[in-house]
Amino acid sequence: MSSTIVLISGAYFVGMILIGLWAARRTKTSADYFVAGKGVGMLAIALATMSSAMSGFLFIGGPGIQYKFGFGTLLLTFPAAVSFGLAWFMLAKRMKLLSMVRPMMTVPDAIHARYDSNLARGLAAVAILLGVIGYLGTQTLAMGVVLGRIFDIPLIWGVATGVAIVAVYSVAGGMIAGIYTDMAQGAIMVVAALITFFLALSVGGGMGNMVSTIGASDPDWVSPFGVLGPGIVIGWYLVFSLGILGQPQVAHKFYMINDISKLKWGALVATLCALVASLVWLSVGTVMRYLVADGGAALPAADEAAPLFMLNHAPALLAGVFFAGVAAASMSTADSFLIIGASALVRDLPLAFGREPSAQSQLRWGRYVTLLLCLAAGAVAVASGELVAVLGIFGWGMFASALAPALGLGLNWSRATVQGAVASLIVGITGTLLLELNHQFAWFDSPLPGYVYRTAAVFVASFLSFIAVSLATRPRPLPRDVARVMAI
C-alpha cells in the first residue's frame, strides 16, 4: 500500500478520534449519550441518516454483489430515491412531535408511547438487538477488509483496529460523536463516490463498452434483473424502500433534530447524497466484471471488487480518499448501531420488564455495553466468513420485517391495535430468524420457491398480520397527547 494512502487514512482516523474526544466532553447525560441531546441541525441529521443507512454495505458489499450478480442488484440501492422520502413522510414529523410531548430516546420508546405496551416495547428491543448483531457484523467485516488492505495486515487485525477506533469515539462520545463523525463521513462518502464513478467509466472505456463486453459472455448479467432474476430483486426493492420505516438508525435520528421546521430539506439532502453515493455500486462492480470479461483474472472474492479496483487503477490520492470513505461508511453505521444496541440493552429491556434505570446508570452501563458490543461485533465479523452484503441484508431485513409495520403504519393509523403490533413483531422476528438460519443450516426444505426473496415474504406477512389483527381486535383509546401528534 502506498504511503499516500496510509497517510490519508491515518489522518482520517486521527480526525475521528479527535471528534470522539471532543464529543466526550459534551456528553454529560444519558440523553446526550443516546440522542445527542436532541440538539442537532438539518445538514448533520441528513448526512448522518444517509451515511448510517448506506454504510460499508454500499462501498464494499454493493460493488461485490454487483460484480457477482449483475445489474439486478441495483434494486438494493435504487430504493434510496424513495425510501428517505417515505421515512420523512411517515416517521419524521411524528417521531419529532412525540419527542416534544414526551421524553423519547429510542425506537422502542415510540412503540411504547403508541401502544402503551411493555410487551411491544420488549419485542421491539429484541428485534433491534438481533438486527444490530447482523449489521455490526457486516460493518466490522467491511472495516476489517479495508483496513487490512490499507495497512497490509491480516483480516483479524483489520477488524481489531477498526473496532478499537470506533470503540474510542463511541464509548467516549456516544451519539454526539456518532452524529458528527457520521456527518463528516457522509460528506467523504459523497466525494469519494463521485470521483470513483468517473474513474471507473474511464478505466472501462465507457458504460457502453463495458456492458457490450460483459453482455457478450453473460447476457443475464446486464439485464435489469441480473443473474438472480426478477422475483428476488423486486422483493429487494420492496424491502429496501418501505423497510426504511423499521430502521432504528434512521428513525431515532428524528428525535435529535433541534428544530422541527428543519425537517423540510432533510429528505432531499439525504436522498441526493445517497444517489450520488450509489454511483460506486453501479460503476465499480461493473468495471471489475468488465475487466474479468475482457480477459483479466477472476477476483478471489466478490468483496474484493472495490478494494482491488482502487489499488490497481486509482491514483494514490483518490485511493486514500476512497479507503477513508469506505472506512468512514462502515464506522458511521457501526457507531450508530453500537449506541442503538446499547440503549436496547440498558434502557428498553429493563423498561419492558417494568424497571426504570436512573439516567446516570443508563449512561454508565451504556458505555460498558457499547464496549462489549464492539468486542462481540469483532468476533461475529471474524467468524462469519460471509459476503459483507449478506449480513447487511439480514440486519436490514430484521428491522424492516419486525419494526416497520408497528412503527411506520402504527404512527399513521389510529385504528392499529397493540395486538396487531405484537403479532407483526413476532412474525417479523421469528420469520426472519427462522428463514435466515434455515438458509444457512438447511434444517428443513424451504416452504418458499427459490425465486422468492425470503425476507420479502416475511415482510409482506408481517404487514398483513399487523393490518388483519388490528382490524380483528378492539383499539384502545389513545392518550390525548399521542392522539394529537397523530392527528397533525
Binding site: F71, G85, W88, K93, G208, L409, W413, L464, I467
Partner: protein, 158 residues
C-alpha cells in the same frame, strides 16, 4: 368542525390502510406464483399508498395528490418496460440495454421528483404549519414545552 375534519382524515387513512392490505396480499400471492410483473406493480401501489398515508391531513392529500398519482404511473411504466423491453446489448440507450436503461433512468431517479422533492416543496402547506405546533403546545410535557416555545419563538413557521 375540527372533529369533522379529523374524522374525514381518519376515514381516508382507514381506506388507505385497507388498500395497503389488499396490495400486500396481491404482492405476496404474485411473488409466490412467480408473476413478477404483477408483484412489481403491487409494490408500486404499496409505495404510493404508504407515502399517501404519511401525507394525509385534514384536507386529504392536499398538494401531494398529483405527485403521487404521477409517481404511481411512472412506477407502473418503469416495471413494465423492465419486463417488456429488450435486455440484449445489440442496441444500447446511454450505454445500457433498453430494459436496464428503464431501470436506471426511471426507477432510480423518478421517485426523487415525485415523492421526496414534493415533501420539501410543500412542507408548510402539506406537512406542518405553525398552527399545528401551536395546537400541540397544550398537550406537551411541561419539561418539553420550553423547547417548543423556543421553536415557535424562532419564527416557528415550520
Amino acid at each position: 368542525m375540527e372533529t369533522q375534519t379529523n374524522a374525514a382524515a381518519a376515514r381516508l387513512r382507514q381506506i388507505l390502510v385497507l388498500a395497503l392490505g389488499a396490495a400486500f396480499l396481491a404482492c405476496g400471492l404474485a411473488m409466490l406464483a412467480g408473476a413478477t410483473l404483477v408483484a412489481a406493480w403491487a409494490v408500486s401501489l404499496i409505495l404510493t399508498l404508504a407515502a399517501s398515508l404519511g401525507a394525509v391531513r385534514e384536507s386529504g392529500l392536499g398538494p401531494f395528490k398529483p405527485y403521487f398519482i404521477a409517481g404511481l404511473l411512472v412506477w407502473l411504466l418503469a416495471f413494465a418496460l423492465m419486463h417488456e423491453l429488450s435486455a440484449s446489448t445489440e442496441q444500447l440507450i446511454l450505454g445500457l440495454p433498453p430494459a436496464t436503461a428503464a431501470s436506471v433512468f426511471i426507477l432510480w431517479l423518478a421517485p426523487l421528483f415525485l415523492v421526496t422533492l414534493p415533501y420539501s416543496l410543500h412542507f408548510e402547506s402539506g406537512v406542518l404549519s405553525a398552527a399545528d405546533l401551536e395546537a400541540l403546545k397544550g398537550d406537551a410535557d411541561p419539561a418539553q414545552v420550553d423547547a417548543l416555545e423556543r421553536q415557535l419563538g424562532d419564527g416557528g413557521e415550520a
